[in-house]
Amino acid sequence: MKRSLCVLGLSVGLVLTVRAEPLSVSKNVDMRQALDDITLAATNHELVLVKMQPIDHALEKRGFENPHIRILFIGSESAVRWAEVAEPKLLNLLPLRLTLFQKDGRMTVISDDFEPWLREFPDAPAHLMIRAWQEELKATLDDFVKQ
């Protein structure tokens, strides 16, 4: 009985602490090379680099510690048009965001967490649209690793 309770307790604990994680990849490159590689990977998947937000420089310039982090916004016209027609609330997710952060010589790129969006929009077509964007980003990140 005690054993069952322990197992049950452990399972519940795991369920309560499980956190959906964003897409994430990493490789050994510096920031400049990473930006080149991710831009090329995005182009390969018909995505456009809309804006690079150098928050590392922005913070350092204002006297804060350099976090070695940059944010990229990437998108496609088709995604915008699709959202405009199918679910305008999803325009708030566009352009898609990627975060690059450098630690100990290793560059990690993460996406936003799509799980709250998928939960919020459980039905088609919005759900499928978010899934499609997630897949596009995954393919782009896989390509980035191979560059």
């Binding site: 309770l5 519940v12 976090p67 016209e77 708030n92 352009p95 967490d113």
Partner: protein, 150 residues
């Protein structure tokens, strides 16, 4: 043993209730009745400054995806930030970039302009370490949107 089981079930119920809490809405929305897009952007810029944030940039929703002349005029994005807050939350969790820079989406309607922001407290549901900061950020968003819509 029965007492232990009861206590355990009670604990589960309490944990479940604490975990559920009040669900956060996904969006924070206000409407600037009777304003044009330019007027709404101007009012938003002023509200951003009044709340100790810095304007970062504004752009069309399809900026750089289509030639400038073909950009949609009825949907604009305004970005802004507070660098001290940015520094603070990045130290807590680098995934805080999901809320950076702060953003308001402005959508022109026949009667005015809707100002829409993704609720940071909704985004941080899976990031408990950022919960307090995101609640504060949510309150700032609400104040900024309220002021901009007056």
């Amino acid at each position: 043993m029965r007492k232990q089981v009861r206590l355990f079930i009670l604990l589960l119920v309490c944990l479940g209730a604490a975990h559920a809490g009040d669900p956060e809405p996904m969006l924070i929305t206000t409407t600037a009745q009777g304003k044009t897009m330019d007027q709404a952007v101007l009012a938003l810029g002023q509200a951003i400054t009044d709340h100790n944030y810095s304007f970062v940039r504004q752009q069309a929703i399809d900026s750089r995806l289509v030639p400038y002349a073909q950009e949609v005029r009825s949907v604009r994005l305004v970005y802004f930030c507070n660098f001290a807050r940015m520094d603070r939350v990045l130290r807590l969790d680098p995934r805080a970039t999901q809320m950076m820079p702060c953003r308001v989406t402005l959508v022109e309607t026949p009667t005015g302009v809707d100002l829409i922001a993704v609720n940071p407290a909704w985004v941080s549901q899976n990031m408990p370490v950022l919960h307090d900061e995101c609640q504060e950020l949510k309150r700032d968003y609400q104040s900024i949107l309220e002021e901009a819509s007056l």
